[in-house]
């Protein structure tokens, strides 16, 4: 048998997820429990994100899948193929052309618009987890807005490293109420959490969904004398010379050679197509 229900999940399951999504949007940053299903991929590959995407997709949608900024790595390719096969939706690598974007650990460089949905894959939704292992206790702390512990983590960072060394999954406060783990995006992306697009977060193994509605206030936690800083590698992209994008460092040989390239492959390719080139661009492009 080769006929899947549209987007793999059955209609009742999608309905259940949509209800959780509505609640998540109504209470920004709050982790809504949902009955996560077994998906035909291992935990850690984005089972939460896939379920949220499946519940959001319509036949008219255009889907883009990002893995660490790239469109062509295993995770992105396999999830894109999955929805091509089960939902027959159009797929794209262009950020601008997509209506639903599922992402792992990055926010696209290009600003998102009001008619787009960004779906995050989340490994551990609980920002307080490594400080307070008891779920009963962390839920109570969220309910009573007791977030002093989150600053203890940042305090430890400064005490040990001299600065806030948390570089990804940097905790944020949503709409002045809930402290949220923005999934392991680099803290460079944190300012982009205030966006025109709807942002949904799905954690499959942990069975939680949460959301940031468009134009919601999202503040990265910090200290008065150690303010938040959206850091990145201090280089220009070696392919498109962009200085304002998040960069991957790529080791090129065993003699210390390395290059920095935009982690957002679509954005980098777009810049190269419009004539930007960097230090290591192919010669025929510069000629």
């Amino acid at each position: 048998m080769s006929d899947y229900n549209f987007a793999y999940l059955d209609e009742q399951t999608k309905r259940m997820i949509r209800r959780a999504l509505l609640k998540a949007v109504a209470v920004p940053g709050y982790q809504v429990p949902f009955a996560s299903r077994e998906m035909p991929m291992p935990y850690g590959w984005g089972t939460g994100g896939v379920q949220v995407t499946a519940a959001c997709l319509t036949p008219d949608d255009t889907l883009k899948v990002i893995d660490q900024g790239a469109d062509d790595t295993t995770n992105a390719v396999s999830i894109r193929k999955f929805f091509e096969k089960t939902a027959h939706v159009a797929t794209t690598e262009k950020t601008r052309a997509a209506s639903v974007i599922q992402t792992r650990h990055r926010i696209p460089e290009e600003p998102l618009t009001a008619d787009q949905i960004l779906v995050y894959q989340v490994p551990i939704p609980e920002p307080l987890r490594f400080l307070e292992p008891r779920e009963t206790e962390t839920r109570r702390m969220h309910a009573l807005e007791e977030y002093g512990l989150m600053h203890v983590k940042l305090y430890e960072d400064i005490a040990r490293h001299g600065h806030i060394a948390t570089a990804y999954a940097y905790p944020v406060k949503v709409e002045g109420r809930y402290v949220m783990d923005p999934s392991p995006i680099p803290k460079f992306d944190n300012p982009k959490l205030e966006s025109a697009a709807l942002q949904l977060f799905g954690a499959g193994r942990e069975q939680r969904i949460y959301a940031i509605p468009p134009h919601t206030r999202v503040v990265s936690l910090d200290f008065e004398d150690h303010p938040f800083e959206a850091s990145k590698a201090d280089h220009a992209c070696d392919l498109c010379s962009a200085r304002h994008t998040y960069l991957d460092e790529v080791i090129t040989d065993d003699a210390g050679g390395r290059m920095f390239v935009c982690s957002d492959t679509d954005y980098c390719a777009g810049r190269q197509a419009t004539g930007h080139h960097g230090r290591l661009s192919p010669q025929e492009a510069t000629a």
Binding site: L144, G148, V152, A159, F223, E224, D225
Partner: protein, 256 residues
């Protein structure tokens, strides 16, 4: 003078068994109350009920709050009660591992209560943590060490610093010197006595060690099988015990 803590007819049962029954007392500001009794006499149950860790079945616990005067902590909402336990109350556990975060540095442990009440300036938090470590005789160079690298006595002193940093008015202590050897115990008691006097703290100390109450407590309550069998001034109770159980307790002390 209004009592800081006023307890009336407090009872707690575990099913058919009595935890503590019909306990009433007043604690005035600056006063230290000792609760002694053998294991299973209900002293820890009583302390946990007072500190809001257990819900008593009947009775009143009136605490003299800073803003609204005496209020029944049992009728407070949970956020209010937890706020109290972060600011005006402190709880020193017998085992420092219960009261400390073992994966967080000493400075972070002391700073946690400050950050929980809204401190957001790293430099100031650190300065206060350093100051408090000094007060409990832990040198400044241990500020960034984890409690797991500390000795038992140091852990206990760290726990005390962590609890007192927000300037509480009432401290609950559950066997604060249990599990420490006598010389460390003596130093800790000395330190506690100094801090209590200096900060004008009120304290309730649960212990089975009569030497501890003799040294620290102004008044003493003796418990047996969940009931208070005798209470009064510490020296009076210890020197002239009236109840048979208290007489037994006092005569059981080993003389070295």
């Amino acid at each position: 003078m209004t009592p800081l803590l006023s307890v009336r007819d407090l009872s707690k049962t575990y099913g058919g068994r009595i935890g503590c029954a019909d306990v009433s007392f007043d604690l005035y500001p600056g006063e230290v109350l000792g609760i002694v009794g053998e294991s299973g006499s209900g002293k820890s149950t009583l302390l946990n009920c007072l500190a809001g860790h257990l819900a008593p079945d009947t009775g009143e616990i009136l605490f003299d709050t800073r803003t609204d005067g005496p209020r029944d902590t049992r009728k407070m909402s949970e956020p209010e009660r937890r706020m109290l336990s972060r600011t005006d109350w402190a709880f020193v556990h017998q085992n420092p591992r219960d009261g400390l975060r073992m994966g967080v540095s000493a400075g972070g442990n002391v700073g946690e209560r400050l950050m929980a009440v809204g401190a957001r300036h790293y430099g100031q938090i650190r300065a206060q943590a350093t100051d408090w470590l000094g007060r409990v005789e832990i040198t400044e160079d241990r500020l960034d060490d984890r409690p797991s690298a500390f000795s038992g006595g140091m852990q206990q002193r760290l726990q005390i610093a962590r609890n007192l940093v927000t300037g509480p008015r009432l401290v609950f202590m559950d066997e604060p010197t249990g599990g420490l050897d006598v010389s460390v115990q003596a130093r800790l008691l000395d330190l506690l006595r100094g801090l209590v006097r200096e900060m004008g703290l009120s304290a309730i100390i649960v212990t089975h060690d009569l030497a501890v109450v003799r040294l620290l407590a102004h008044r003493l309550m003796v418990m047996k099988s969940g009931h208070v069998v005798e209470q009064g001034l510490t020296d009076q109770v210890l020197d002239d015990p009236q109840h048979a159980y208290t007489q037994l307790l006092v005569s059981s002390i080993l003389q070295v």
